[in-house]
């Protein structure tokens, strides 16, 4: 097969065009739409694999670069490129989209072509966010992503879906528009360029840097989400269909952190140092306080949503202590959380498809009727706890380790998050999986079918693989993190 454009362009546009194709097939041909969507998502995944095999780990420069003028009147370019930081997220995105398509094979019956098309289009847009090196292009992908997600939650969501989706949209939209003003300001500061790499070289006084940093913070903090702008997430997660929750937790939340890595740290290094205390503080609140909130949840999805916020706290903590260990830990933690949170939401989806309730009290003793499911879920629960041998351990451990020399107290507080994390996860696991079967519905549950084993099994393999052998993941990230820390260490204040 020959594609005319670059690898990245193919990876972005193949799922988008494929999505429209699926839309054209229509809901009446549900079967055809499913197979076509699977083919498109697999094709996209295959298209992203060369990024890994042809990636040069010895340089921090952008690779697979494509750059053509797009809007000459404003010097906007269609500028794509990836480095070690973005590579894994692209693969994560395309891989999870395949899983989402497979996982919704039977559970979505209503307007199935539209559902699958929305995910495929979003796949392309999310890959676009991770590749874009032009500020406006980045922003376009970043915002356009909201449209399919708005529909996914609103059409296929739970009972309070309308409230949840409008809240989700407006919250994230509000966060992003201020970023737009900051990007426009940078356009004039950098001498009429929207190039993110030029922004990184542009000297800026501390005052403007702080304003820009705060504008970025609004956008990224909402997306991650950080305390106190996290309140949209539990609503969105609970109401979204399983696939929506998976993509939301596994990929969309990472975009906020990716934004810090790509924009905040290199463009406003002085402000990042200046306000690092704030970021560390907010991260610790997420780790400590949100974890406590998670413990008391009665709804499985809500519990996992809060646990996501707490885990993302580790990520933001690792970004703002400026050590290589912590930053690499953050990136690994993002990936690991991508696997584990996706898997946890899929597990809830498996139960929900059978029982149509997410209430923890409705379950109990699932292990005795669904042994395969219980085993797989245990892997993910252990990953969520951060048990050594799973991917969850590597990231969180590296973050805490990297934080300790700089901010010992922050490291100690963050470490308590590991304990609370164990508390809510294990308690959830105990109440749902173990114990006696006391409900007749539970006794009738069927164990996983082949399709579900495939989906959850592949994630379990990845979780364990990354837990015991994180080196290949780190190798790719290493040079880029090193380069980024170098950028963040040099002051951009002129004079």
């Amino acid at each position: 097969m020959v594609f005319p454009a670059g690898v990245l362009t193919d990876a972005i546009w193949a799922p988008i065009l494929g999505g429209f194709l699926v839309l054209a097939v229509g809901d009446r041909n549900g079967r055809l739409a499913r197979w076509l969507a699977l083919a498109v998502s697999l094709l996209t995944f295959v298209l992203t694999i060369p990024l890994l095999t042809r990636f040069n780990t010895h340089t921090a420069a952008m690779q697979f670069v494509e750059r053509i003028p797009w809007i000459p009147a404003l010097h906007i370019h269609y500028h794509l490129g990836i480095d070690g930081i973005s590579l894994w997220f692209i693969l994560l995105t395309s891989f999870l989209t395949v899983l989402v398509v497979v996982a919704s094979w039977t559970s979505i019956q209503k307007r199935v072509a539209q559902y699958l098309a929305a995910f495929l289009i979003m796949d392309g847009l999310m890959i676009g966010v991770f590749c874009a090196l032009d500020a406006i292009l980045f922003y376009v992908f970043w915002e356009a992503m909201l449209i399919p997600m708005f529909l996914i939650i609103g059409v296929w969501g739970g009972a309070r879906r309308v409230y949840a989706t409008i809240k989700f949209f407006l919250y994230t939209f509000l966060g992003s528009v201020l970023m737009l003003v900051a990007l426009l300001y940078l356009y004039f500061q950098s001498g009429h360029s929207f190039d993110l790499l030029t922004y990184q070289e542009t000297p800026l006084g501390l005052g403007p840097q702080i304003w820009i940093f705060l504008a970025f913070l609004m956008a990224f903090a909402v997306k991650i989400p950080m305390w106190p702008v996290h309140t949209w997430l539990p609503d969105a997660h609970v109401e979204a269909p399983t696939g929506g929750s998976v993509i939301l937790a596994a990929v969309m939340l990472k975009m906020g952190a990716y934004g810090f890595l790509r924009l905040s740290l290199p463009i406003t290094p002085d402000a990042s140092h200046h306000l690092a205390w704030l970021m560390i503080l907010l991260s610790l609140v997420a780790i400590v306080y949100i974890a406590l909130v998670a413990i008391v949840q009665q709804d499985m999805k809500k519990l996992i949503a809060y646990s996501s916020i707490a885990h993302m706290g580790f990520v933001t903590l690792g970004l703002f202590v400026f050590t290589a260990t912590a930053m690499e830990g953050s990136i690994l933690q993002m990936l690991s959380h991508g696997f584990i949170s996706a898997a946890m939401f899929l597990c809830v989806g498996v139960l929900y498809d059978r029982m149509h309730t997410r209430d923890i009290h409705a379950y109990g003793g699932v292990a005795s009727v669904m042994p395969v499911f219980a085993t797989l879920m245990m892997v993910f629960a252990m990953g969520n706890v951060g048990l050594p041998g799973t991917s969850g351990f590597v990231g969180e451990f590296m973050v805490v380790l990297g934080t300790y020399p700089e901010h010992p107290w922050a490291a100690i507080l963050a470490a308590t998050g590991l304990v609370t994390g164990a508390a809510y996860t294990l308690w959830l696991f105990k109440r749902v999986i173990f114990g006696a079967v006391f409900r007749p519905e539970v006794a009738l549950l069927k164990d996983l079918n082949g399709r579900e084993v495939l989906v959850l099994g592949s994630l379990a393999v990845l979780t364990l693989l990354m837990g015991v052998w994180p080196a290949p993941f780190l190798d790719i990230v290493h040079q880029s993190v090193h380069h980024l820390l170098g950028q963040a260490a040099v002051s951009k204040i002129p004079g």
């Binding site: 003028p69 797009w70 809007i71 000459p72 009147a73 404003l74 539209q114 406006i136 922003y139 376009v140 992908f141 915002e143 356009a144 909201l146 449209i147 708005f150 529909l151 609103g154 059409v155 879906r161 309308v162 989706t165 409008i166 949209f169 407006l170 939209f173 509000l174 528009v177 201020l178 737009l180 003003v181 426009l184 300001y185 356009y187 004039f188």
Partner: protein, 481 residues
């Protein structure tokens, strides 16, 4: 001065439309009863021909009739936009007018005269011709609003619009007369030169500009001069609303460019402040009041007010960059507004106006394609990429940031978020709510359907490749100022 006859060629599109409008009237008089479509296709021919003529003159510069009409890139670009929008209006409204017994030569001729008025406003190089164009456009619109004579709401809207519009014309005329008194000239260029050394605290000049700005704001529909707009929009037959929301806005913007940026460029400090106030009020009132509307036409009317606020931001920036962005914004907005009102026209059928938001319930289940187009229109109005509405906002915001009004840009983007809410509400009704009992079955006018499809898809396509339109608009302003 050269032989003025030579320069008549610069007015050929206008003359063409004038002649054709008269032909349409006559044809309707003699054959109108039997050959209804004749007038319609003649009007289409008229506007298509005008587009060709305008396009042929692209790049020429000069003036006709001793400076009464100016010809430059700006004129050509805006003329083309106005003619295209006129065509869209015609295509949308044929089926609607036919079902309601309004498919008559007068409507077509009034539309053509309105378009002509807009074009004269765009190319006017003299206070007289500007005012003439303005009145021609306005009178056509008054008549069009009230054309549905049997409907109380339409005649009421027409009267309201007429009285307030006459007041606005009076304000503008008073401002113009003061400008004449100050400079002793009616020509735009001469006024500009005479004012070039005016001191900024020349009170007469301030008063003159306040009146001029008030008049322009009235025609644009900027708050606090927006009172007529929701009533007129709601009361008028939807195709007329469609027309009012599109071409006249471009004409009013051109009026602002001619009167303020060209004639009053040296007094920028004065009108800039006025436009800051207009922009802030329009965005605030338009967006907040739109939330409370249940009628889609009324909601879109308030959305017009807010969009005029965003447009005013470009004028505030004042620079060539700012005006070019504003032109881009107003052209894009006109396209979005035609699509929005066109949607209402398309979904209306005999005895039923699809103008309440609740009329769109469950649209996606009955007409997925139409619902998809609605999605594009609403997200474009909200300014969400990858639709063209986003680039329009980016353009004005960047001009604003360049001019140093960062706070105003921040206010603007926050208002855009407020605006997103009511556009989303329409989508919520169309996508998330169940359809009403007794589903809609009627097909809708196919011509309007095709127009709507092209128009709405253009919002997406122009969003993915915005460069041509943007470059086109940015070039247009190169000779102005």
């Amino acid at each position: 001065m050269q032989n003025p006859l030579v320069h008549w060629s610069f007015a050929i599109p206008e003359i063409w439309i004038l002649v054709m409008a008269c032909v349409v009237l006559l044809v309707d008089l003699f054959w109108g009863q039997k050959q209804r479509d004749l007038g319609f296709w003649l009007s289409i021919f008229c506007l298509t021909g005008a587009m060709v003529l305008s396009a042929a003159e692209m790049g020429k510069a000069g003036s006709a009739f001793y400076g009464q009409l100016l010809m430059d890139r700006f004129t050509n670009t805006a003329d083309l936009a106005v003619e295209l929008l006129g065509l869209l209006v015609l295509f949308y409204s044929r089926g609607y007018l036919m079902l309601r017994g309004l498919y008559r030569g007068e409507v077509l001729a009034l539309l053509l005269f309105g378009t002509l008025g807009a074009m004269v406003m765009i190319s006017g190089g003299n206070l007289l011709s500007l005012y003439l164009g303005l009145e021609l456009l306005a009178l056509s619109q008054y008549a069009l609003v009230a054309i549905y004579r049997d409907q109380l709401r339409a005649t009421e809207a027409g009267l309201k619009y007429f009285i307030l519009g006459a007041l606005a014309s009076g304000l503008l005329l008073y401002g113009m007369s003061l400008l004449y008194g100050l400079t002793g000239s009616l020509g735009i260029g001469k006024i500009g030169m005479a004012l070039s050394d005016a001191s900024p605290d020349n009170y007469v000049l301030i008063v003159a500009l306040v009146f001029v700005v008030a008049g322009v704001a009235f025609k644009l529909g900027a708050a606090p001069f927006h009172m007529w707009l929701p009533d007129a929009y709601q009361g008028a037959p939807t195709p007329v609303t469609l027309f009012m929301a599109s071409a006249p806005k471009i004409a009013a913007f051109a009026l602002a460019v001619r009167l303020l940026a060209e004639a009053g460029s040296s007094a920028m400090a004065i009108w800039q402040q006025l436009f800051v106030a207009l922009a802030v009020l329009s965005m605030l009132i338009g967006n907040v009041v739109a939330i409370a509307q249940t009628n889609l036409k009324r909601m879109l009317a308030y959305s017009t007010v807010s969009n005029i606020g965003f447009l005013a931001l470009g004028i505030v920036a004042g620079s060539q960059n700012g005006l070019a962005s504003a032109l881009f914004y107003v052209v894009v907005y006109a396209l979005m507004a035609t699509a929005g009102f066109g949607m209402i026209v398309y979904l209306s059928r005999e005895g039923f106006e699809a103008e309440e938001i609740s009329d769109f319930r469950g649209l996606v289940q009955q007409r997925p394609w139409t619902a998809f187009l609605l999605l594009l229109i609403m997200f474009s109005l909200a300014g969400v990429p990858p639709t063209v509405g986003f680039y329009a906002k980016v353009a004005v915001f960047q001009a604003l940031v360049q001019a140093g009004f960062v706070w105003l840009a921040v206010f603007g983007v926050l208002m855009a978020v407020v605006g997103a809410f009511y556009y989303l509400r329409v989508l919520k009704v169309a996508f998330f709510d169940p359809p009403p009992e007794g589903a809609r079955t009627s097909g809708g006018d196919p011509l309007a359907g095709i127009t709507l499809t092209v128009n709405s898809l253009a919002l997406l396509v122009l969003g993915i490749v915005p460069a041509p339109l943007m470059t086109f608009c940015f070039h247009a302003l190169q000779e102005v100022m």
